[in-house]
Point group: C2
Chain length 218, copies 2
DNA sequence: CGATAAACAAAACGATCGTTTGACTGGTCC
DNA sequence: GGACCAGTCAAACGATCGTTTTGTTTATCG
């Protein structure tokens, strides 16, 4: 198989021994999926990392596929809720700027990369994006659709000169830039003398500045 | 395993029966890797699609890993050459605009998605991006580095007001938007009444307009 | 022609995969 | 106490994986 620099996990998983078996599986799954991908991550690696029996996955989740779906749902619901809450907050202000809405779109996504105990989920999502599965597309559309529609409506208000098609295109490109930044693949790497929080805020600022100008393009 | 809408390939591969075994394997591999991923695509599916014997892969390429690398190299070399040629052409003009350089960066990548017999490679690349493997990062850096440096130099000339760090960030975000657009995952889908060529040119125009504004952001 | 080597094909190899089975545990309720 | 049940565990199942082996065909060249 492909030689990877992490044929063994290499770092200890933060297994909370007091957590339930289900929780421990979910936590380990998120990390392992992010690191190895859905197909390459085996249930034997996963259950060993989680400190549970091999059969526990099929017992608690029915199948590996269901586990994948659960890992997704857990984080996507979080992201959706935070995005909508942030959007509600900025639109409640007397004057809402494009940067405000972009912040509500971008910051919860970047935040997700480091809290909730995981922080690797965005890589999972980036991988899933790339997998380009039709059933995944439908799943994301079902779970993301209403959020994207709300943001699109707000963007449209703030960019009245844009045609619908042009607007869809540009939001799509913003999503691409955001996904790329989140996946951490880009050339920009956090320097060791910058804290994770600071780096995330810098990323958000760069993204918002870039995206705002792109959206406002003539 | 994950239920996919294409558990069987579903469409006939354009296997040129006169092509050499090596070529047929490479062509089939590119399509299958794009569709299923590197890990999920089995040599049995691959060789069946290519119309060659199972052992042919290990005979001609040594291993599945080497095959993956060859698939990459073949397309990346093409992309690098076309980008550099396009860049050389626009910088030879009396006046080079930011849009020109962006076109030289973006158009060869978009073109790659539909010619050369494959057209699925960019999905492969997008997947690879998301896999976030360190060895892959090194591989891409080795094969991409000099091209990116040349483009960065040109961008720097055209955007004298930008700090180096800011410039790196913005080029990275442009790359993200480009990758996303190429992967075809976005909400924007080609309509059936638009030809592939037209759709590609529209994509290029949207991308260039968006990226130029983003790069020029105050 | 005979020799040499590259190319192809069929079959099997050991390993690993997701999943299932059946036994055993500890606790809960009648 | 005995019946019940969710949970855990070791062990095994059949399938599929990448790779190797072994033998045959095909082509090249002295």
């Amino acid at each position: 198989m492909l030689k990877r620099s992490f044929d063994s996990i290499g770092w200890a998983l933060p297994v909370n021994s007091s957590a339930s078996t289900k929780e421990r599986i979910l936590t380990a799954a998120e990390a392992l999926f992010a690191q190895r991908g859905f197909e390459a991550a085996s249930l034997r690696q996963l259950t060993a990392a989680a400190g549970v029996n091999l059969a526990a996955v099929n017992y608690h989740f029915g199948s590996k596929d269901n586990l994948v779906e659960e890992v997704f749902k857990r984080r996507l619901d979080q992201l959706n809720n935070r995005r909508l809450a942030a959007l509600k907050q900025v639109t409640a202000q007397s004057e809402t700027t494009l940067e405000d809405v972009l912040g509500a779109f971008i910051r919860p996504a970047l935040d997700l990369s480091h809290d909730g105990g995981g922080g690797l989920f965005m890589r999972v999502l980036a991988r899933a994006f790339a997998e380009h599965d039709d059933s995944l597309r439908k799943f994301l559309s079902d779970n993301y659709g209403h959020v994207m529609r709300q943001f699109t409506t707000e963007f449209a208000k703030l960019l009245p000169g844009l045609s619908k098609e042009e607007l869809y295109w540009r939001i799509d490109l913003v999503t691409g830039a955001l996904t790329h930044a989140m996946s951490g693949f880009g050339i920009i790497q956090r320097k060791s003398d910058v804290s994770e929080t600071t780096h995330r805020e810098q990323t958000a600022e760069h993204l918002i500045r870039f995206a705002a100008a792109g959206l406002r393009a003539p």
